[in-house]
Symmetry: C2
Subunit: 98 residues, 2 copies
Amino acid sequence: MKCGSYEEFFKNFANKTKFKIIMRLKNKPMSVNELSKAMREEQSKISHNLAKLARCSILNVKQKGKQRIYSLNKDTVMPMLKLVEKHVEKHCDMRCKK
Amino acid sequence: MKCGSYEEFFKNFANKTKFKIIMRLKNKPMSVNELSKAMREEQSKISHNLAKLARCSILNVKQKGKQRIYSLNKDTVMPMLKLVEKHVEKHCDMRCKK
DNA sequence: TAATCATATGAAATGTGGTTCATACGAAGA
DNA sequence: TCTTCGTATGAACCACATTTCATATGATTA
């Protein structure tokens, strides 16, 4: 990845938009437009965010005609989310939403 | 934890100061002043940051006389860091500093 | 209980990243 | 090659998190 630091890597999980993208891509790879429509967000917003996610190899891209299909790097992301889930289960108090 | 969301949780790793604190506490628990001096940062800065880390149960606190000793929640944090290390090893290019 | 040490806290100032908007680029088909 | 569709990009703007500074609180000891 061209990601310059651990901090940069983690920023991708520390942001609502990026986190939602990650969640969407857990199910299936998607193009920019698909994501944009599914999330009801501007195309450029999604695009900017995808760029940063891909830069840290959290997502992979492949071209398919005019579209770019983004997919999740599950090897890293899935166990990461599991860890946090466990953490929340253990330490979460009433105020915690998720 | 009183941490309201995954995003809030991850913000602690996505910030230089907080990340440095985490790294320091990998070795041994420390008081606010110890950290402050070791990191050459203002006491209040450290204190503010510690508060957020503790709020998400990334750190634990215990009182010891006048001091408050902060320690790392290794159960969650260590495997988390391992995951990212692996990720970096696999995907990191030349520009990557760590 | 006064003084001191260690830490926390609030608000203002500062810094930084995210979104928006306009536009450019690239691929594919007519 | 012109047009259209899909996506990327740059800069200005905005929102929010972080730091700073002054001060308050809590624990301990003389």
